[in-house]
């Protein structure tokens, strides 16, 4: 059976990998390619490369960075998000070596292009980015990062999920993103979606991860910078996830 996954997230802003705190404050970490190469060598189940400022800077996807990543000959599955606005761009990202793409802004702006991407690449290659928050009425709301407002779920997003034009949802607790073990588990209690979830936003410790992975709708957890703290962070984490259905991993020591 497919097992649950630990996805390593590399958040990129201004072409640098950053530690984000609720997408409000950012600490520069360095060169994205080095971090991605490490995560590949350390055996992450998947790597999410999320370029969070391409759309706001009105830029196309970062093809130059994708070419540099391609040259690293990464053998871990990659999800790329950031600046995708056409079928041609989505296809080029896959041609350059990503395996899946992460979409959000396009669903607000042009659902027909989004549909075309799904028909070209296949829903299995598309992850929907859905930042959420529990409102004062204890209901789940969507967070629209474009106008920075909490909204009822956008109908295009609901349509994409209902019609299975995507295969997984990256459900982000956006307020707690970057804060250690602050992921609000009540988000899962409110989950109305029939597609598998990747949970993200303030997830670090084995205790929290185990709780999240126990939920039958959750396929994976996405974890940010804490996986970069040591060369064996992923291994140590997986060893502590006793009882969780995850893949054991190995890693290749850095050649000296």
């Amino acid at each position: 059976m497919t097992i649950k996954r630990i996805i390593a997230v590399v958040t990129i802003k201004g072409e640098i990998a950053v530690q984000s705190f609720g997408y409000r404050k950012f600490l520069p970490l360095g060169n994205p390619e080095t971090i991605i190469q490490n995560l590949d060598r350390w055996g992450a189940d998947e790597i999410l490369v999320n370029v969070i400022d391409r759309s706001s800077r009105k830029l196309e996807p970062d093809f130059f960075m994708l070419e540099r990543i391609q040259n690293l000959r990464i053998t871990t599955p990659i999800i790329y998000g950031g600046g995708i606005s056409s079928v041609k761009e989505a296809n080029k990202i896959i041609n350059l070596g990503a395996d899946r793409i992460l979409l959000e802004k396009l669903l607000y702006e042009d659902f027909s292009v989004f549909k075309e991407i799904s028909f070209t690449l296949g829903a299995q290659a598309i992850v929907l980015s859905l930042p959420v928050v529990i409102n004062s009425n204890r209901k789940l709301n969507q967070y629209n990062y474009l106008n920075k407002k909490e909204i009822k779920f956008n109908k295009n997003f609901l349509n994409a999920i209902e019609k299975k034009l995507i295969s997984e949802i990256l459900l982000t607790d956006y307020k707690n993103e970057g804060y250690i073990d602050k992921f609000n588990i009540k988000i899962l209690n409110n989950n109305q979606f029939k597609l598998p979830l990747i949970c993200f936003g303030g997830i670090k410790s084995p205790t929290v991860i185990k709780k999240i992975l126990k939920n039958k709708n959750v396929n994976a957890v996405a974890i940010g910078n804490s996986l970069n703290y040591s060369e064996i962070a992923i291994q140590k984490l997986k060893q502590k996830l006793t009882g969780a259905k995850i893949r054991k991993t190995f890693y290749k020591k850095f050649a000296t």
């Binding site: 391609q70 053998t75 041609n95 990503a98 290659a125």
Partner: protein, 202 residues
């Protein structure tokens, strides 16, 4: 080890970049091409993955490769189809709309029974115990697909289990092998699989 030349067929969709890099990594040359001469001159043919069946077939016909590929594969060119590449080797698919495939390996591609999408790492289980790939029994490989092979048992080499059923993971007919998983994104297991594939089919 002799360096082999791989032609990764460019049918518009597909993660060519990954495949090219990984084949270089294990010591071989690879080009991404739709040029018939380059395809003919290669030692191995790869049909890459990531995309939809109708889109791949449409592009193959548009670039006049559909019948050409059928011909050279039937003539004996060692061919590896990966994920979507495996699927287009078969008779047909009902992904999005009914579309005919290359009909190299009998069988059809239909919706996954267990769950809409089979995404993540899963183990191989060998049906054909004489397969030279049996060393990979119970090893994890990365899968990413919504449709899978239904066809004669004689073509089936290995499967992988989901909650409700088994999915065919490897099919083979003579010089042609189709694999549902992505060796180029299955870390060490994937590299070893590809190296062994070259060794067996050279």
């Amino acid at each position: 080890m002799q360096r082999k030349k791989f032609a990764i067929v460019n049918y518009g969709v597909g993660n060519h970049g990954s495949l090219k890099g990984v084949l270089n990594k294990i010591g071989h040359r690879a080009i991404v091409t739709y040029n018939k001469k380059e395809i003919s001159d290669s030692d191995f043919l790869i049909l890459p993955g990531v995309g939809t069946f109708p889109e791949a077939i449409k592009n193959l016909k548009k670039s006049n490769l559909f019948n050409f590929l059928k011909k050279i594969i039937k003539q004996g060119k060692p061919t590896l189809g990966i994920c979507l590449g495996m699927q287009i080797l078969t008779s047909s698919s009902n992904e999005l709309s009914y579309t005919g495939g290359l009909r190299i390996i009998t069988g059809n591609i239909k919706n996954n029974k267990s769950a809409p999408y089979h995404i993540g790492w899963n183990k191989l289980k060998f049906i054909n115990k004489k397969s030279k790939f049996c060393d990979f029994q119970n090893e994890y490989f990365y899968f990413q697909h919504g449709f899978s092979y239904i066809g004669p048992k004689k073509n089936q080499i290995a499967s992988t289990a989901t909650k409700k059923n088994e999915i065919v993971a490897i099919i083979q007919k003579k010089n042609v092998m189709g694999i549902q998983f992505h060796p180029e994104k299955s870390q060490e297991n994937g590299l070893e699989f590809l190296a062994q594939y070259v060794d067996i089919f050279k």
